[in-house]
Symmetry: C2
Subunit: 212 residues, 2 copies
Amino acid sequence: MKIVAAKKIVAANDAIAAGNRARLRAANVFTVNLLGSPGAGKTTLLESLSAACDRLAVIEGDLATARDAQRIEKLGVPVVQVNTGGGCHLDANMVASALAALELDKVELLFIENVGNLVCTAGFDLGEDLRAVVLSVTEGDDKIAKYPPIFQRADAVVFNKIDLLPHTDFSLDRALADLKRLAPQAEVFKVAARTGDGVAAFATRLRQRMER
Amino acid sequence: MKIVAAKKIVAANDAIAAGNRARLRAANVFTVNLLGSPGAGKTTLLESLSAACDRLAVIEGDLATARDAQRIEKLGVPVVQVNTGGGCHLDANMVASALAALELDKVELLFIENVGNLVCTAGFDLGEDLRAVVLSVTEGDDKIAKYPPIFQRADAVVFNKIDLLPHTDFSLDRALADLKRLAPQAEVFKVAARTGDGVAAFATRLRQRMER
């Protein structure tokens, strides 16, 4: 029986993530790790972004099914589905395998859509340049305070389903106050991925980051 | 350094869960493990249920904050907050500690609200009599197919935020077809926890289960 401690798993992951990062940078690919709860709207955001972004590719992480990859494939965007088989997050090794299935010389912007999970995904570097957490307003304005680690490590927080705000008790003021206190580094975007509202601003900012 | 393998962790958990179950049954307490994504509406469902249920108590599981426990305490319901400090699910040992803080002779129905997580919570028995997964329609109708283990182990699936159905693409037919295929054992409830719609039917069914 093989026993591996949690600390060793993270250290091994970090080494593979560094390899992914080197490989992606050598290929001039800017990589975004896209995180959020199940149903936050990560795939819908990618569908909406695909219209505003050239030379895009996607890695889809899910416990099961290829449903998300099928949605992305329909748009003509290169996509690789990773099934974790029950695992609650992607790791750098899964991403390394997925990278082998992409033609990186045709890609400038790579999104890695992680498993829907506001906890486990926070601890695993995949080799990304930018980490974005999607938080839908239908989840409630207390999520930043209740799940701090993922937000503390985020470069961007995308408030999604803004179109549903009038039908919820969500207070943007309360959420932004928690974010300022717990994760002041995170840039804020407000979008309705389903209608496309606000998505262009997020795409523009990504392009600025790519050109740095 | 102490190293513990995943299989051993689950086996140790199961033993403690069996102890919890024996203790709760001896005290005539019916226990529900309440699961779901972050923001599925678990706490709001408990708030709504508190009006329809006597001799209720709640154990609240969260990474951080006592916000959920404060909401329950306001209703005059005995509540214990467990903070996992980053952990992605409650385990039987945490519940055993929480039970020590409750006066079980005053309780007939105990809800254990797990950490918001559609993956990790599935694998851990807490000693409950019934396992209920809350799935809000704003999360999308593909969640049962994409996160099968938690639904396969559910006794009940509570579709929540039914009042927001007209504002989403959620198809109850698609979700129910997946549920029938993957988790035919699960009883289905449709509620709007925020308005209280459908909550009485869920409470009535719980009482029937308690009387068996």
